[in-house]
């Protein structure tokens, strides 16, 4: 009796390709489909229930919990996760929750309701305690953030992220290198245990390393939102109080775009009057005027690496790990070089 493995060997394709052909999936090249079908015909193979069931057992649900709705930065990551899971024969079940919602609670419920094999958390906090995470009993990975402020044992959780504090420090250093000394920051909150706190810390560190004072009146907070409309609103309100800065560090591209509209409406030119730098590297920030200078996160790799770690744990091949990926500075046209002061 021919097995799927035999067919794969005879057709010179992978086992998962054979599964896909047997299940009439569209995502197989015509050439592979032809070769698999030729083998099946030659060998007179009839897919039996066991083989089909083996395929079906692998078609299981992985939960993706997205915290903080409508962040365009997430779109590419979600897409990368969905494709990687699909290639491996799993199904992605997504749930979007608000920025202030409890993602661990949502995960605990979803794990039971949808009989999940694992969970990827996209956009969470950085201060989980072991008791909290004990509610999730399937393998999980934090994507795009890590547990920087909490008390989790590194052998007890997985994450794939950039180093948010370093990235922020690098971004602010780009402004300082260009001669800026009065640098404002647009953040969500200074101590919300989100990436906002970590990136704010990076901003503070860059200032401190260059003996620049931290001026609280130049730290603009939305409170609890990364949304473009809140960034715009807070920036517009802040400008009524002060515009005594030559550069702005925004913790996210989308927030920078909101701020740039407020700056323009206040009569300020970018980068003539105010330089702007951010972190994330969303697609559209490459097309706005001026092109945003930003630290790009490796979006595709954040997604695929998260899936790789998660499936490693589910399939018994890997253990918990924290993976830190590098960012890349994209020089746009939103930073002006200031003349050196004598």
């Amino acid at each position: 009796m021919l097995t799927i493995k035999d067919i794969a060997r005879l057709a010179g394709v992978s086992v998962s390709t054979v599964s896909r052909v047997l299940n009439e999936r569209p995502d197989v090249s015509e050439e592979s489909r032809r070769r698999v079908r030729a083998v099946i015909e030659e060998e007179n193979y009839i897919p039996n229930n066991t083989a089909r069931d083996l395929v079906r057992i692998r078609s299981e649900a992985i939960g993706l919990i997205v915290r903080g709705e409508q962040n365009p930065f997430y779109t590419d990551i979600i897409h990368a996760i969905e494709r990687a899971l699909d290639r491996a024969g799993y199904t992605m079940v997504m749930r979007q929750i608000g920025f202030a919602d409890d993602e661990i609670g949502a995960g605990a419920v979803m794990q039971r309701e949808k009989r999940l094999r694992g969970i990827i958390f996209l956009g969470g906090r950085s201060n989980y305690a072991p008791e909290e995470l004990a509610r999730v009993t399937v393998p999980f990975v934090f994507c795009a953030y890590t547990n920087s402020c909490g008390t989790l044992d590194p052998t007890a959780y997985s994450s794939v992220s950039i180093c948010d504090e370093d990235a922020a420090c690098t971004a602010v250093n780009e402004l300082i290198r260009s001669g800026h000394r009065c640098i404002a920051a647009l953040i969500a909150d200074t101590d919300d245990s989100s990436i906002s706190q970590l990136r704010y810390q990076g901003y503070c560190r860059a200032l401190a390393e260059h003996d620049l004072p931290l001026r609280p009146e130049l730290v603009f907070s939305t409170g609890d939102s990364f949304a473009i409309e809140d960034a715009y609103r807070v920036m517009a309100a802040s400008l009524k109080r002060t515009d005594d800065f030559t550069a702005l560090f925004a913790i996210a591209d989308d927030m920078a775009l909101g701020a740039m509209r407020a700056l323009r409406e206040h009569g300020l030119d970018i980068p003539g009057d105010v330089s702007v730098v951010a972190i994330d590297g969303i697609t559209v920030s490459e097309y706005v005027h001026p092109m945003l200078s930003t630290l790009c996160q490796p979006k595709e790799e954040l997604g695929t690496k998260s899936v790789e770690l998660l499936l490693g744990m589910i399939e018994g091949r890997g253990a918990h790990a924290q993976v830190t990926l590098p960012t890349t500075f994209r020089a746009g046209a939103s930073i002006r070089k200031l003349a050196k002061r004598s």
Copy 2:
């Protein structure tokens, strides 16, 4: 024996709220949770399997097939669909496929693999034939497009969309009203049976209604892409051949943003030298400079209405219907009024 309905009545909340509390879902207000728990405690209610099963039976999978990856216009619609399904106790299972992929084939496979109760197709073609759609045997709804060029019987399919041809005609009329006579178009293709074809027809109709010639050299096609990078690339290449136009109609906001960068890099001011109008109304187009003038689609309503139609069919309350929703013109700052020629 107390039923869920009794608890709902006693607590003064809906049946679905009681379900949510029983299932420890996070998306219930504290006040509702408190009232439901008070009734349960007072009445000494123990959730029985039947009640739990009733809830569970409703937790079923609805497929969302998204054709044409990374269209930011879809983000808000997907979010609206996910929330509406979640409120009704269903699970959304999403699959993203390429612009050139076969969404009906993907739906037929997914319906079987994931045991779907229904499918929402987001971003498809407009020319389906009955034989094709026969492969999908669960209820389905086309979201954000309709079967304008095909041979489907209106009693045999459902859709929720704007009228793409009318919307394009209205957008181009905004340019004509402002005195423009040389109006270029940036499209995917003229006859790809997608919304590109329909919006191109609207462009042609607006020109014809005002006795303006259709100049093929001013119709710029990406071929088969709505992606911002392709819009940018095609616009930049086209400008090397001609810039003999005072206005540009782009069939989608995202494409307009790509084109605007190409226009600026060619040394043209928007709207000083070239006015721009588009269709969709994505969030970020309100924040770019100049703010894009565009016909906004009712994104939230496209999503919720699609879910309403689909669940009506699944739950035996409704039949097939084609719903057309209105667009709203948002006057940005990307259209310049030309002086009247004598």
